[in-house]
């Protein structure tokens, strides 16, 4: 029993950080898709955010003596702004030029890693940017001492996790309690209805894509901080995984969080199977565990997509003339 508790205490922070990352990026995509624009450029936007964030943090660290968490905050902010700007390419192509949204997003996915690696190498001579320092928060006074919750949520935690919680609450309120949220949701379902009531579809859709860009960029930096401590031109498929989270979560925030937890759990099991005693005792080859999150994605998508409730107008460019 104590052994199990220790195991959980050990694994939970890992799960939480993966879950925070997945849910922030998926939540961003939710804004884009519910406004009616498919955004499969999450992976590329995350890479751009991660690149800009990591680079900024290295510069700040080398030149200024400021506390670690402040630097993390600066890095996250720069990542978000970068993601927002990068997503504008997709927004412009998809909304103003009425291009195929899958293609313009794929273009961004191709562009981002190439650009990031090329620039990193041009600047540092190495394709990777090493952030080096550990940005986790080991202990928080008082909170870490709470039984169960303390070790799960407030030990070895990351600033980004708390930001993720804050973002989730704000996003939920914006989506369901404000005029903007109502309009955004209507644009993804029936833009002609919204248009006939004087809602500016273009503005709302730009806003949706930009929010998604900012959160994906933020997610990119979260990945650097809590998973790899270095940036080497990739985010390990977290962008696409977030898209799966969004779809399995049926484009609804609460379900999305639950699915994110599930995906995060599989991810952690696959990454550190040797450290989890119960799993180690099963004596299965490592490869099985490594495959787990991807197989789980397929299975979960297959099960959940049957009652799929995608926004009706998602992926359709808005054309005021078409009935």
């Amino acid at each position: 029993m104590i052994e199990l508790m220790n195991q959980l205490n050990f694994a939970f922070p890992y799960i939480i950080r993966a879950m925070a990352l997945l849910s922030v990026v998926a939540l961003g995509a939710l804004f884009s898709e519910r406004s009616g624009v498919v955004n499969i450029a999450l992976e590329g936007i995350m890479i751009m955010g991660a690149f800009a964030g990591a680079w900024t943090m290295i510069i700040v660290m080398n030149n200024f003596a400021i506390p670690r968490q402040w630097n993390a905050f600066i890095g996250l902010s720069v990542g978000a702004v970068t993601g927002l700007i990068f997503s504008l390419f997709h927004a412009f192509a998809a909304i103003h030029m009425k291009s195929n949204q899958i293609i313009s997003a794929t273009a961004l996915n191709f562009f981002a890693p190439a650009f990031a690696i090329f620039t990193a190498r041009a600047v540092t001579g190495d394709r990777a940017l090493n952030v080096r320092l550990d940005y986790s928060i080991r202990n928080i006074p008082i909170l870490s001492d709470i039984p169960i919750l303390g070790p799960w949520f407030f030990t070895n935690a990351y600033l980004s996790t708390f930001i993720a919680v804050f973002i989730f609450i704000v996003a939920y309120i914006v989506l369901y309690k404000t005029p903007f949220g109502l309009r955004l949701r209507s644009c993804g379902e029936n833009p002609h209805a919204a248009d006939s009531l004087g809602v500016n579809i273009y503005k709302i859709r730009y806003a949706g894509v930009m929010i998604s860009g900012a959160l994906a960029g933020l997610g990119g930096v979260m990945f650097v901080l809590s998973f790899s401590t270095r940036f080497d031109g990739a985010v390990a498929g977290f962008g696409f995984l977030s898209l799966a989270v969004l779809i399995s979560g049926q484009w609804k925030p609460i379900r999305l969080i639950l699915i994110a937890f599930l995906f995060a759990l599989f991810r952690v099991v696959s990454e550190i199977p040797d450290e989890l005693i119960g799993i180690r005792n099963l004596n299965l080859p490592q490869e099985i565990w490594r495959m787990l999150p991807f197989i789980a994605t397929l299975v979960i998508l297959a099960i959940t997509s049957k009652g799929s409730a995608a926004p009706r107008a998602v992926g359709e460019p808005f054309d005021a003339g078409k009935r």
Binding site: T178, L182, R183, S186, E189, A193, G198, R312
Partner: protein
């Protein structure tokens, strides 16, 4: 006399067509003013100009005596002008309340004041007798209720002038009656109403005055009371309209279609929606299946053409059993079908006119050569059909079906089905939502088919059509045939009794 709306010498030109040509239209306070015209006469364009969807090239608009410029729907909204579009503009998974407040939400501390809005909507729906549950989702309520939501949307925005674009097109007769009451109630509360329509009966029932448009020009504005339906129709079409169809007595010959003991289950579920149906359709007659909507007529036809599996029974076409064949094989065996939902089952909307014409025989050697389509033959066929059936469109054979008017879409389907020269022609609600001219044309074509010795099976909900067009009537009630009638020997009242299930007769 004071007018709330004056549209003076409005001209609006689209590339290649003058949709409005010096049109004058004046709306009095608290009246119901009908705007009558055929499809394409410029009714919708005129109202779109008033609602700010289009800008007029010439002319001006006065609201309550003041000159105004209406650049977009928001301007119209500010002038208290509201519009119910023919195709409702509602978000299917929003509640009634959310749909109504969308775009003009009230907030407190930046958050929606949903409860207050809900109360306001309740109050409005009681005052104007528009029964609707503010918390229901749109996808769960009937078309009639959805229309009330559209009306509430305007009232919520304090509209004084209400424009209704073909409001009865998709309603059942009961819902239409309800709507007419609502319209009268609205004028009593001080609203002024413009009713865009081409149905003369509706105008007669509710409208005070009527402005007739024809080919983009305003022909006349008349008091409805002092004008007969014949005069209205003549002004609308520009020639005398035959209300009584000219047709000779039918000379039925041998049986083409014999249906015996046909039973069909509903699409999802176990209920038998067609029960033990027996009938024969003969050459040289128009056999009509009458009934109130939803009594199994749709499923019966689906069963005949193969869109639904049948549970029991047989379908013999010229002594050939159809019930086990696929849709294509039935069609090739000699079944022509003008489907009820022409946009879903009759056409591929994003295909061109010429391609829509060959949907059932593109695979025959007439239209392909070693796997490649013969484009010249397809084009020739389209040109021939356009000529023969007067199918009008903006770009001829290459027009997209979606861009065509309802009447011309139907002519396309009708032409295609007739041209296949089959013994059996099934026409389900062939004139639903069409204007007088198109209805007349389609009726004439069906009679011609009969006279050429085809068996015509007509399914119709319109009493007029049933009485005037058919040679023999079968009445369907709750999945069964409850009467076989001769239209020359009964009147509409009696037919109504059979349709309502309060009278039953023998079916041979």
């Amino acid at each position: 006399m004071d007018y709330v709306i004056e549209m003076i010498d409005i001209t609006k030109e689209f590339p290649g067509i003058k949709a409005n040509d010096c049109v004058n239209f004046k709306l009095k306070k608290q009246e119901i003013h009908a705007l009558l015209g055929e499809n394409g006469a410029g009714k919708s364009t005129l109202m779109s100009v008033l609602f700010g969807l289009y800008q007029a090239d010439e002319g001006h608009i006065r609201v309550n005596g003041n000159d105004v410029h209406i650049r977009n729907p928001n301007d119209a909204n500010d002038l208290n002008i509201g519009m119910v579009h023919q195709h409702f503009k509602l978000v299917h998974n929003f509640t009634v309340t959310e749909n109504i407040i969308l775009g003009s939400e009230d907030t407190k501390y930046g958050l929606l004041t949903y409860k207050e809005a809900r109360e306001k909507i309740k109050e409005l729906s009681e005052r104007y007798k528009l029964r609707v549950n503010p918390d229901a989702k749109i996808e769960d309520i009937s078309v009639g209720q959805q229309q009330r939501v559209e009306i509430l949307k305007m009232l919520y925005r304090q509209a004084e002038i209400l424009i209704f674009d073909e409001p009865t097109a998709s309603l059942t007769p009961q819902e239409i009656e309800e709507l007419m009451k609502i319209l009268k109630g609205l004028t009593k509360e001080g609203k002024s109403i413009v009713l865009i329509t081409h149905k003369l009966n509706e105008i007669r029932e509710v409208a005070d005055r009527c402005t007739i448009l024809r080919k983009g020009k305003s022909i006349s504005t008349v008091e409805v009371k002092g004008t007969t339906n014949e005069e209205l129709a003549e002004m609308m079409v520009g020639r005398k309209v035959v209300f009584e169809l000219e047709k000779t007595k039918a000379k039925p010959k041998e049986t083409v279609l014999q249906v015996s003991n046909l039973t069909i289950k509903e699409k999802e579920g176990n209920k038998e929606v067609v029960r033990n149906v027996n009938f024969k359709a003969r050459r040289g007659e128009i056999l009509c299946i009458a009934g109130i909507e939803g009594n199994g007529q749709t499923e019966l036809i689906y069963g005949l053409v193969g869109m639904l599996p049948i549970k029991e029974g047989s379908i013999l076409l010229n002594d050939k059993e159809l019930s086990t064949l696929s849709i294509r094989k039935r069609s090739l065996s000699g079944v022509s079908h003008i489907p009820e939902d022409r946009q879903r089952h009759g056409l591929v909307l994003d295909f061109t006119l010429e391609n829509n014409l060959i949907l059932q025989n593109y695979f025959t050697s007439k239209y392909h050569h070693r796997g490649f389509l013969k484009f010249d033959t397809i084009r020739d066929n389209a040109e021939k059909m356009i000529d023969r059936f007067d199918i009008r469109s903006s770009r001829g054979p290459v027009s997209l079906a979606r861009s065509m008017s309802g009447g011309n879409q139907q002519k396309l389907i009708l032409g295609r089905e007739i041209d296949r020269n089959n013994d059996l022609l099934i026409a389900v609600q062939p004139t639903r939502g069409l204007d007088v001219g198109a209805i007349e044309f389609i009726h004439q074509q069906l009679i011609d088919q009969r006279d050429q010795g085809k068996a015509v099976l007509l399914v119709s909900l319109e009493l007029d059509e049933v009485m005037n067009l058919s040679d023999r009537i079968l009445v369907m009630y709750e999945g069964e045939l409850v009467g076989e009638l001769d239209p020359s020997k009964i009147d509409e009242k009696e037919l109504g009794l059979y349709m309502a299930g309060s009278k039953r007769g023998e079916v041979s």
